[in-house]
Symmetry: C2
Subunit: 330 residues, 2 copies
């Protein structure tokens, strides 16, 4: 056990990312049942959807993740989540403000996800119990810094607070690497996107399994096309490239006025495509770790594979240490 697993009361140091529209009650519950901690993604604040997903968590201990700037528009959703007595609340993307105190007054563990070292210091000062250092490899919204250099810098900046690594981790090698960087656990989204219990469309799961991280990109394009008014900030949306993003990305770069003229039409087209499962048009919102996801499977199998892979990687460490032992100075 580490302080993180003790704090959260979990067996494996493995958290499910609260992916909007993907991490529902069943996926969160399945992750927790397998020994990690599942998070329901509250996304952009559909009250009925959130209530329905929370009621589908099958009595498992789970957390709820919010997009902070969106929560500020409907702060009552935090009351609703806290009334559910979650194991933790995760806040990301924006100043936590009074939400931090509200979560702590409720006796619920407060996890702050950050994308820069200076944000980690601010979140620690605001009272976060756990810091998630999220690298820009992550699918969906994330920052511009990479996981490899961000995690140890955040560990140093907020010690002794426990740090969880996120972004680009979808197999046991990545978990072992995160632990070497000083993280006490990991938060994974893309690794669980194609799970049986995920709410992603079957065709989106199929495309993720077939994809390479080479084929992801970070851009405001799909937020504009979904009509999401993300505020200015050090974050962007990572998704798989598709026919629409290639076509519009090129044309709108060459003819900026075309974007203004076409936006409403393209938004309607995208909304229909999402319903129809047309992912040449609708986005598959996944991260660079897509290379490491090879199949759809139950969440329990993903948790087991991740932790066995981590054990295998860590088990190699002792042999490696002996190989590269630094010579003693005399």
């Amino acid at each position: 056990m580490t302080p993180l697993t003790t704090l959260l009361g979990i067996r494996h140091p493995l958290l499910l990312a609260p992916m909007a529209g993907v991490s529902g009650g069943r996926l969160a519950a399945a992750t927790s049942r397998a020994g990690g901690l599942g998070f329901v993604g509250a996304g952009y604040g559909d009250r009925d959807w959130l209530a329905s997903q929370l009621s589908a968590t099958e009595g498992q201990r789970i957390g709820v993740g919010f997009i902070t700037w969106s929560l500020r528009r409907q702060p009552e959703l935090l009351d609703m989540a806290l009334a559910f007595a979650p194991t933790a609340i995760l806040l990301s993307f924006g100043d936590m403000g009074g939400f931090a105190d509200q979560v702590r007054r409720a006796g619920v563990t407060l996890i702050a996800q950050v994308q820069m070292v200076k944000q980690a210091r601010e979140a620690a000062a605001a009272g976060a119990d756990v810091i998630v250092a999220q690298g820009g490899e992550a699918g969906g919204h994330g920052g511009l810094r990479g996981t490899m250099a961000l995690v140890p810098a955040v560990v140093d900046a907020v010690a002794p607070l426990p740090v969880v690594a996120a972004g680009g981790i979808a197999d046991g090698r990545g978990i072992a690497a995160a632990l070497m960087l000083g993280a006490q656990g990991v938060l994974c989204g893309t690794a669980f996107y194609a799970c049986d219990e995920s709410l992603a469309h079957p065709e989106a799961k199929r495309r993720l399994v077939a994809a390479s991280g080479d084929n992801t990109f970070k851009s405001p394009l799909f937020d504009q096309l979904r009509g999401l008014d993300w505020p200015e900030g050090p974050w962007g949306l990572r998704a798989l490239r598709n026919a629409l993003s290639e076509q519009l990305g090129a044309r709108w770069a060459a003819e900026p006025q075309a974007q203004h003229a076409e936006l409403a039409t393209q938004q309607t087209r995208l909304a229909h495509a999402r319903e129809a499962g047309d992912f040449d048009t609708a986005p598959v919102i996944a991260g660079e770790a897509a290379d490491l996801v090879h199949a759809t499977s139950p969440a329990s199998a993903v948790v087991q594979a991740l932790m066995q892979g981590c054990d295998t990687a860590l088990g190699r460490a002792a042999a490696i240490t002996n190989r590269f032992q630094t010579p003693q100075r005399n």
Copy 2:
């Protein structure tokens, strides 16, 4: 020993990045003497400078690193480097073409640095002996993918070729993490930038030591200001933000025509600033791992600290494995 250390004949799986204008003969030699492998950075092809730096390597085994598209303009520089009988030639940024065969015919180890999985497959097919998977955290030129997800994907793509991780690694925790990801070694630039033997300006070293990776950015701005005509490609320049980049970045984004009108003047200003050591104007070209560099010191001390830190991190792995052991299924 791993296949990589055996192949290169080195004690530590630690390579010095061939930083243009920074990794000269003395720094390369000091890195090799300490048990790693130093690389002289041939940069943009100053023949006399390269000859002078190669002659300053004090009889140590070293490698030479080229920017492939630049080498194509002066291919005779590869003849010159091979005549020096280097331990390895590292090629990055562009199609290796006939250079690959030339290096191999000379009996010299060919190391290809790539920024995407598909480039790794191409480099392996072209005959590279070692692949460096370079994440975008790296200082100077690098790709858009992050080290954490890129390295294991490249390891899988080119197995059994040895893979070296680069980008965002500047302490022992990062080396241990890279080994967990399946890399057989690391290539570090920012970690050595502030070394006594580095050719960087003392004021640039001071700024790097004081900087956070939060304050780096990736942009073509400083290439334009240095008059370097990098071809279109999946790479960009990472450097510390400074007064000039903040000022011009904002103005040229708001008034694109200003860039055209001012470029020549600003290029002259920057050239003078580099000579004068004015780094409010000239760039400090360093990576996101800046948070992890806390002092200037001899390269030998950096190598020792990196490898001792790696041993310490790997030494924790056995204890962690026992903590998170996956329960046996009955």
